[in-house]
């Protein structure tokens, strides 16, 4: 270790002899490393934002919708029949090992009234599991309970947008709102989630117990009182999404008595997949940006090689002398290699600082979220060292294998 520091000190001194030249050579590496760090930071920032959006949808989410059926050759769109029931949800939660939760949901549009203000929004009839699956938290109050669902209690949970439109800045918890002439006590307000990846306001919603919603507000399906609009299913882990999907498809086909060869009467959507595709395209973009930036790092490396070749030629006599007094091949090789690596590492360190500053400036002025990870800093550092070794090797080898007699005589 001491020996490395000693040779680094010698290298630094050799580089100081030609300060301007060393600085200009380093500039190539500085720009390369800074570009890699800033560009990867921009890419990682974009990926991060998409990931946050996916999280806001709820983790490991599978949506089951009533499916398309064909009668007499006419195929109807999804949701055309009420093929899913609350019992399906219970069965999926109970019988599919890869599923942790399954929540039924019905939805419809309602007009909510509070005193002289009113607001049209979407009402969702759900169970408490829905809150877990969609990853909701409460801003104030409590979510309604399973007992509330069983008793068809007249209780409601408001989204932030609804709460603001009906109550302004005051807390609606414990207040009463009226939907279709039925008074509901507000149990609580959801923590805002913001826009969905498709631009919908996820806070413009009112959640009611599913029983109350079907009986008092939205009206039950006449053919099947337990029919639901959709099932929200949460897989136990991200890795079991596919398995959970297969299990619930098999279970639903069995429960709905669908013969082999017949189409499903339900549709399974895996939203995470859609956004994972978006995420991977953002990752591709960040790899692309990083790759373009790496090109400048390689150009910087060629600059180092160039300067090292000049330096080896200039110092031919010195090399001859060192060989004469006993320097072995690897001594000369390591001397020039350490010099090249010192040059590239110094450039790398300065480049990291410049890159961090640049990504902070990008975040600040372009309002563009950037995320510089420790990993990308370490990688940039390692990569600049590698550039030094790679592009320093050829000149160092040239120096190490010089003929000492000719080197000593070199003018």
């Amino acid at each position: 270790m001491n020996k490395i520091f000693a040779s680094m000190r010698i290298a630094l001194r050799a580089l100081q002899v030609n300060r301007t030249r060393s600085a200009l050579t380093m500039l190539g590496i500085i720009i390369g490393v800074a570009a890699v760090i800033a560009m990867v930071g921009v890419g990682a920032g974009a990926t991060d934002r998409i990931q946050q959006q996916i999280q806001s949808m709820g983790a490991n989410l599978i949506i089951v919708l009533p499916g398309s059926v064909s009668s007499n050759g006419v195929r109807l769109g999804s949701g055309a029949v009420a093929s899913l029931t609350q019992d399906d949800a219970k069965a999926i939660a109970a019988e599919c090992p890869s599923v942790s939760l399954a929540a039924p949901a019905v939805r419809g549009n309602v007009q909510i009234v509070n005193g002289n203000s009113n607001w049209a929004t979407t009402a969702q009839g759900v169970t408490p599991d829905y809150m877990t699956i969609r990853d909701y938290t409460m801003l104030s109050g409590q979510f309604f309970t399973t007992q509330d669902v069983d008793a068809a209690a007249k209780t409601a949970v408001l989204g932030q947008t609804v709460a603001q439109n009906l109550f302004g800045i005051s807390d609606p918890t414990g207040q009463v709102v009226i939907i279709k002439n039925v008074p509901f006590t507000v149990a609580g307000v959801l923590t805002p989630k913001g826009q969905s990846p498709t631009g919908q306001d996820q806070d413009d919603v009112i959640l009611l117990p599913i029983s109350t919603a079907t009986q008092k507000v939205l009206g039950a399906n006449k053919a099947n009182a337990k029919a639901v609009g959709s099932l929200m299913v949460q897989a136990s882990r991200a890795g079991t999404m596919d398995q959970a999907q297969q299990e619930l498809t098999a279970l639903l086909r069995e429960r709905h008595r669908i013969q082999p060869g017949e189409d499903d009467d339900f549709t399974v959507r895996n939203l995470t997949e859609v956004y994972a595709a978006q995420e991977s395209s953002a990752q591709v973009m960040s790899i692309l940006l990083g790759a373009i930036a790496s090109v400048s790092l390689i150009v910087g490396g060629i600059g180092i090689m160039n300067i090292m070749l000049v330096s080896v030629t200039e110092r031919t006599r010195e090399i001859g002398l060192r060989q004469a007094v006993g320097a072995k091949t690897r001594d000369i090789l390591s001397q020039f290699l350490v010099e090249a690596v010192t040059l590239s590492l110094l450039g790398g360190i300065i480049g990291i600082v410049v890159g961090l500053t640049a990504s902070l400036l990008i975040s600040h002025f372009a309002q563009w979220s950037t995320k510089v990870s420790l990993l990308s800093i370490l990688l940039a550092f390692l990569f600049s060292a590698l550039v030094g070794v790679f592009f320093g090797y050829y000149p160092a080898r040239k120096a190490a294998y010089m003929d000492p007699i000719e080197a000593l005589r070199y003018e």
Binding site: V17, L321, Q323, A324, V325, G326, K328, R330, D331, I405
Partner: protein, 254 residues
């Protein structure tokens, strides 16, 4: 088999170069020994093969055929890195153009051969300071070559050749770039190292006057040994120096 009193034994040494298609015979079979403690001067016109011989003696080059043993070690067939090790331990080099590292303090120039050994930093420095003292440069250790006169630079180079306690010092035209007075100073140092420390000196020179300070004179011509004579009473460089008019107080100190 080998003579323990000989530090250098060469036998039938041949060196050929290829110049295009034609082989050039530079050394055409040379044999001689150099005894420990000898002070040998080598002379000869350019092209006589004396530089080639010096390169082989200095383990910088390998002979085409023939044997060479240095301090009992047969070195003619050693590898590149093994030769570097021999140079490091057994040989001190002094060059016509001094070959000091520019912008580097005298003491660090002297330390250079020790950089390629396991000697720790503190001992390197101490030994370099001792070697500088041996050539009368105490107090100049932090000077860079550009701040030193030609004679002083050559003395730094001699200190560098001493620092490894070599068996032989090879000096290739050591006075070629110096005025006559400084040349005698350098020869005085060589004589002292030869006499007091028993270091075998081999000096290549064009100058017959310089050769008179040695106790053995070897002449080369056309790749062969032409003359090998003992000098019974070599001139004493110290004595000669005292005869010369004193030019600067600094030279008195030297």
């Amino acid at each position: 088999m080998s003579d323990p009193s000989a530090v250098i034994e060469i036998k039938d040494l041949v060196k050929d170069y290829k110049l295009g298609e034609l082989p050039v015979h530079v050394l055409k079979g040379i044999s001689f020994d150099i005894q420990r403690g000898d002070f040998v001067s080598i002379m000869g016109p350019s092209g006589s093969g004396k530089s080639t011989l010096m390169n082989i003696l200095g383990c910088l080059d390998k002979p085409t055929s023939g044997s060479y043993s240095l301090d009992g070690i047969p070195v003619a067939r050693l590898s590149r890195d093994e030769l570097a090790g021999i140079r490091n331990k057994k040989i001190g080099f002094v060059f016509q153009q001094f070959n000091l590292l520019a912008r580097t303090a005298a003491v660090e120039n002297v330390e250079l051969p020790l950089m390629y050994t396991d000697v720790p930093a503190r001992e390197r420095h101490d030994r370099a300071m001792k070697a500088l003292a041996a050539v009368g440069l105490t107090g100049r250790e932090d000077h860079q070559p550009s701040q030193l006169s030609g004679g002083q630079q050559q003395r730094v180079a001699i200190a560098r050749s001493l620092v490894n306690d070599p068996k032989i010092i090879l000096a290739d035209e050591p006075t070629g770039a110096l005025d006559s007075r400084t040349s005698i100073e350098i020869m005085a140092i060589f004589q002292r190292l030869n006499h007091d420390d028993g270091i075998t000196m081999i000096v290549v020179t064009h100058d017959p006057d310089i050769a008179t300070y040695s106790n053995r004179n070897i002449h080369f011509k056309d790749g062969r040994l032409q003359l090998d004579e003992r000098i019974e009473h070599p001139r004493d460089a110290r004595h000669d120096l005292q005869q010369l008019p004193v030019e600067t107080p600094e030279e008195v100190a030297a």
